[in-house]
Amino acid sequence: MIQMEPLLSLCLAGSKRQFSAGDELVCEYQIDAVDPNEIQAVEASVLWYTEGKGEEDLGVHFFERRLPSDAEDGDLRPMRRFRTKLPNSPLSYNGAILSIHWSVRLRLFLRRGKEFVLEQPFILGAVPPARLEVGEEESANGKPADETSDKGQSE
């Protein structure tokens, strides 16, 4: 007997992948190809995590866990929409040894301990990638405010 895996669908409304701080993030998700009685719970979260040369850190901005009792007719499969206002920080970042990624994560819990996960990454903010070769930046106005420094040479 061939057993099909559940089909999870997750999309960000407006087809956007990049958001400003304070924007409203609207997500829709839907579950198919699974018996509603098999579903124990569904969790939807909006989170950030670090990646790079350090331990992974994780921060959850939005979290929602739904049980069959929370849904009409006990069926968690129909399309569900949730919205959240994105925070001011941390912004998505592509650094030299550390990166910060934002993502919407959908986790489906079935009976007998099975779990299925779907992620949809997005970008928060517009921080440019870090420079990997760091020279001395031009100090365009990094100059002494007081030009009357009285000893020695001044840069």
Partner: protein, 210 residues
């Protein structure tokens, strides 16, 4: 994503690549012949912790229940209270990652407890300890190349087509990069992977538009 970031290289995320003739099952069988007592030895960054994680499923398949302890720097004792030890029995496999950091009294107490209860004891250490050696982890350039090939293949989603025993000539990381990093890091595989993280980052950044 950088295939050399810690989420891909940490113990447990990466399978230990055994040399020819060795396997997790073989090591577990050897451990059983030693009454489930053994020490995995090797220098820093050789893959001892990775090997422990790789052995775990084989240990569980052999009917062992793992009781895992990881010792970090400045930690010289184990939390061996009644609640913890009370759950141990003859099928328990006590695993201590960083055994040499234990002081003589915690070591004596741990071994004494394990002998009294009859449970197994599997430890990692950088040098010989007072427990029979199970396995020596020896880093080699060949192993490092295989690890890198596996990481790059996973990153490109190409693992099914990858023969892990044949190092792959990736377009971003080349065999010469692996060899140079391995030599600079004096055989420390973990530091080799950290160095390749920077190489990968530099080269992919150079390829990004704008």
């Amino acid at each position: 994503m950088n295939p050399f970031s810690t989420r891909h290289t940490r113990p447990g995320a990466l399978e230990y690549l055994f040399p020819e003739g060795e396997s997790a099952e073989g090591l577990v069988a050897r451990l059983q012949r030693q009454n489930w007592w053994g020490a995995i030895l090797g220098p820093h960054g050789a893959g001892k912790s990775t090997l422990l994680h790789t052995l775990l499923p084989a240990l569980e398949a052999a009917g062992r229940e793992a009781a895992w302890f990881t010792l970090h720097p400045q930690e010289h004792s184990l939390p061996l209270g009644r609640e913890t030890v009370g759950q141990w029995d003859r099928s328990t496999q006590v695993i201590v990652d960083g055994y040499e950091q234990l002081g003589w009294w915690p070591r004596w107490r741990l071994k004494s407890l394990c002998r009294r209860i009859g449970c197994g004891l599997l430890v990692t250490a950088h040098g010989a300890v007072d427990i029979p050696t199970l396995y020596h982890v020896q880093p080699s350039l060949q192993i490092a190349e295989q690890v890198v090939a596996r990481l790059l293949a996973e990153a490109s989603g190409d693992l099914a087509a990858e023969d892990a025993n044949q190092p792959r000539r990736a377009t971003v990381i080349h065999a010469a990069d692996v060899a140079a990093a391995f030599e600079r890091q004096q055989g420390n595989v973990r530091e080799t992977l950290f160095e390749l993280h920077d190489v990968y980052r530099r080269r992919t950044a150079a390829r990004e538009p704008g």
